[in-house]
Amino acid sequence: MNENMNRRHVADELIVHFDEGSLQELPEELKAHIETCPNCRQALEDLIRLQNGLAQLTPAEPNPGYWNNFLPKLRQRFENESSRRRGRDLAWIPAMGIALILALVLLTSPTQIGPPIWYESQIWAEGSTVLWDDDLTSEEWDKLIQITGNEDIVSTIVDASELELIEQLSETYPYPSCDLIDQLGEMEEESFNAFLQKLMDYPIIQS
């Protein structure tokens, strides 16, 4: 039987025993082979060394007081989230006010109000507050990156445009989650890499 056992087969068998925690209780046939095969003996010794090493590697633990604070911190986050949600629920009130004022201005203005003009100098002057304008098109973002060439500003812009990009590019991947960010976690590695490639081909990245 020893002749029939190739090295690969034994290596696979040994990993199964490693997985089951039975490296010290190998079947007689396997033991007999290992005694006569230096390569397989080496493989067994490596696995035993790995098993011993893993047993000494304790999982990373935070400081002892950490777990006492975990739940209170979590509850605090719930609180903060609820407050933000309450704020969002009421966000329609100022928005409605602004809309009413705009409507009044439009109705009473003698001259026609044109589309907003995007001044490069104004954006420079605004610095990081440029993010107030979430409605920039991808071409505008592209232009902005070219103009600023500033890594801080670019990375801030990236945060704001990320969702939009993901939304546009992930449409071709039909995943069950309706949360766009969650879709990333549900993608197969191959799809995700294809998605990344697509992203790298995107005009903003090329710039």
Partner: protein, 180 residues
Amino acid sequence: MPAEDDRELIRRFQKGDESAFNELVRKYQKSIYQIARRLLGSHEEAEDLSQEVFIKAYHGLAGFRSDAGFFTWIYRITVNSALNVLRKKKLRQILSLENVGFSIASRSAAPDQQIEKEEALQAISRAIDRLPKMQKIVFTLRHDQKLTHKEIAQILNRDEGTVKANYHHAIRKLKKAVKS
């Protein structure tokens, strides 16, 4: 995993008993943290992710069906959330025009300075860190969390054979790290 207890806690929570959720947090917080820490590397990211996982669980529990195992569900949230963090990092690197190759090189050099244990343990730790994502997830769930291949398959929504193959490849890579 005592699924019966979980079902009871979920039933209580769904009836409005907030303390039942606290019990679920206490029961799973360490496991969730350990998985997150192994997959993400830093304490800060693991802490943030653990809290995010419980927040998602809190909001999802109202519609949770008790025929699905709670731990399968929450581990799946953890793994997917960790994958999201890793993927968003990668996305951000690309979007912010960082040199990805350089970032990876600097990251792999960093643990060398931090790990102070003896050489063999260092080698194993580094080898675990460098495992491909899916192998690392499977190894973490199998070795650290002592889950069966079947349970891992349920969590990852893969077939058991794929999980075993990933585990097998992971062990072969780790074995090389301790080769004398």
